[in-house]
């Protein structure tokens, strides 16, 4: 154990090296993890850590050179400007997602849906409730607001409800956006989030013509999928989904369709079966997404859907280990959330995952336009409005200018309070460069009107800390086979290309 006297002693002579900024935490087996401002990390034993902070490291040792290479120390005052410039460049790269402002624009085409999923946080409406459709006039104002974003990349993601129930508006938006873009010249792309059950050849021809990608939902095998994804007219959602998936892949191509799943109490102890189902249906990966406490999921009782966060953590780790095992057996299959985190840990690059950013990606990375033209910084904020709390509404495309919505006090206040650098507990956490804040959750779940929340009791923190800690443990073990799998995911290469011969 490090004693306080050693740690706090004053230096009586010039320091042999300079410490550069880092944070640290204790790990099992007397290890200490150090992470610097740009996410570079190193594990030390307690003796070496004590030497480091007491300026007693041997400047010819391998450890000294490792620490220098990773910018934990600087040799001298004269070297310091170059070290700082290097760190500044990496810092700027890590925060690159801030550079362009909002690139992801989610458009709620309708609240109508032909399903009534138990965990739906969109709080969908009956399939014939057309008053919940986005009309053409609103959709044009939405497109005009979208193209006010300074980002050179614009991704329009159609959501619902089930967008295919209002496909005319989808088509109208695609046509109008392409027309506007002839002048704006941005990198424009489209994604359709659909349960696929209403798709047909004519819709698919349109999607193919305009290169629209598909994001769909598959919760697992038939019994798991049908348990919570309920067709309003009855029958098996899974059976119809599979039939439509085949048609969709035939027309669009397999790589144009990806799937998401939601972990509920139904499948949390069966994630290996879920993964097998994804493999059987020829998907290349899965995002193991925990339940969000919004919409129907909040109304439905805890016994039916929800689970303690520790159960999710255990299930996630088990599923991840199973996926690694499958990869080592020669089947390329990713866990997408793990890929995002490993990219943040092992590379200097920014990853645009708005649910875990600092400052939060709410509004500045992605935003959502409701069927009636109301604009929200996240889908969860929109859900709060559906449950009666309009706190996070940024404005409406008919009544408010782009500046009022995206440079107004509502969004600025959210962003100001969502920097982990200043949140108690987060401020000293070594996972800071990899993590982020969720101001809407802090407000909604932890009832904090300042959007910060209470980190020691935050399930959001608990989940991310546990998963990142597990990944750091893997990196510390540095098993070659496991690292090959991780790097194959990050670099999008075949694992055999990475193996040392």
């Amino acid at each position: 154990m490090i004693d306080s006297e050693t740690a706090t002693q004053e230096k009586s002579s010039k320091d042999p090296y300079l410490l550069l900024p880092f944070r640290f935490m204790r790990f099992p087996k007397s290890k200490i993890l150090l992470v610097n401002e740009v996410g570079e990390f190193i594990f030390l034993n307690t003796t070496d850590f004590e030497k480091l902070i007491s300026y007693k490291l041997n400047n010819g040792s391998e450890l000294y050179y490792d620490l220098k290479a990773k910018s934990f120390i600087s040799d001298s005052d004269s070297e310091l400007p170059y070290r700082i410039d290097l760190l500044a460049t990496k810092y700027r790269t890590k925060k690159a997602y801030l550079r362009n402002f909002t690139s992801l624009h989610m458009v709620v085409i309708t609240l109508r849906c032909n399903h009534r999923c138990n965990y739906c946080h969109a709080s969908s409406q009956d399939a014939d409730a057309q008053k919940f459709d986005m009309n053409i006039e609103t959709s044009r104002k939405v497109v005009e607001a979208i193209f006010m974003s300074p980002s050179p990349y614009i991704k329009i993601e159609f959501q619902g409800g089930e967008p295919l129930l209002n496909f005319n508006t989808v088509k109208s938006i695609v046509h109008y956006a392409e027309k506007v873009n002839r002048q704006k010249q941005k990198y424009l792309s489209f994604v359709l989030c659909t349960n696929l059950t209403l798709i047909d050849e004519s819709i698919l021809r349109f999607l193919k013509e305009h290169d629209v990608l598909i994001s769909t939902s598959l919760d697992g095998t038939k019994d798991i999928h049908d348990a919570n994804r309920i067709l309003r007219k009855g029958g098996s959602s899974y059976d119809t989904f599979l039939e439509k998936l085949q048609i969709t892949r035939r027309v669009l191509g397999k790589d144009k369709v990806s799937a998401l799943m939601t972990v509920t109490k139904t499948n949390i102890n069966q994630l290996r079966r879920v993964i097998d189902e994804y493999l059987n249906q020829d998907f290349r990966g899965v995002f193991l997404r925990s339940l969000n406490p919004y919409g129907y999921a909040k109304k439905v009782t805890g016994e039916q859907l929800n689970y303690p966060i520790n159960d999710f953590i255990d299930a996630y780790i088990d599923a991840f280990e199973y996926i690694i095992h499958l990869n080592l057996e020669g089947r390329h299959f990713e866990e997408y959330f793990a890929n995002i985190l490993f990219t943040r840990i092992l590379t200097p690059f920014s990853t645009g995952f708005m649910d875990l950013q600092s400052p939060a990606g709410a509004g500045i990375l992605g935003t959502i336009y409701n069927f009636n033209g109301d604009v929200f910084p996240t889908d969860e904020a929109r859900m709060l409005a559906a449950m009666g709390d309009n706190h996070f509404c940024l404005g409406n495309v008919f009544n408010n200018s782009y500046q009022e919505m995206f440079n107004g006090t509502t969004l600025r206040n959210i962003i100001k309070q969502s920097c982990v650098e200043i949140i108690p507990e987060c401020h000293c956490c070594p996972y800071q460069p990899y993590c982020g804040a969720d101001p809407v959750r802090a407000y909604s779940v932890q009832k904090d009107k300042h959007y910060v929340g209470h980190i020691p009791t935050s399930e959001f923190c608990k989940k991310h800390k546990a998963i990142i800690s597990y990944f750091m443990k893997l990196l510390e073990q540095n098993n070659e086979d496991v690292m090959n799998v991780i790097w194959a995911w990050i670099t999008k290469r075949d694992i055999n290309e990475l193996k040392l011969s």
Partner: protein, 117 residues
Amino acid sequence: MENIFAFIDDNKILIRLKKQFYEKLAIFSAAHKFTDNFIVKIDEIDKQTVGIYLSLKDSRNKELLKSAPEEFCNEVLDQQIRLDIEKKYGPIRDIIVNQAFSPISITDLKNEIKKKL
């Protein structure tokens, strides 16, 4: 270790720390971390000593109370180390962030370092 803490009752413990070794910020940062399972009160025992009272939120979790003193001592030590290290490199962090987000040259960077350190 026994002089550092004392059980007030079945659900409450008092940890005594010398102000000479631990700054207020380190103690508060450590105490905040324990607010998941404990109600925390910080008070002065005497001019040299600060007392941290940890009361269990849920009296069924008595095993947490047993390990709390040692965990708290380690945590406040870590927080103090963080503060001490921060005093040495804190200005460097400011320079990194400024350099990252403003178009200043290497020459100016040297002056900036001279000013802050």
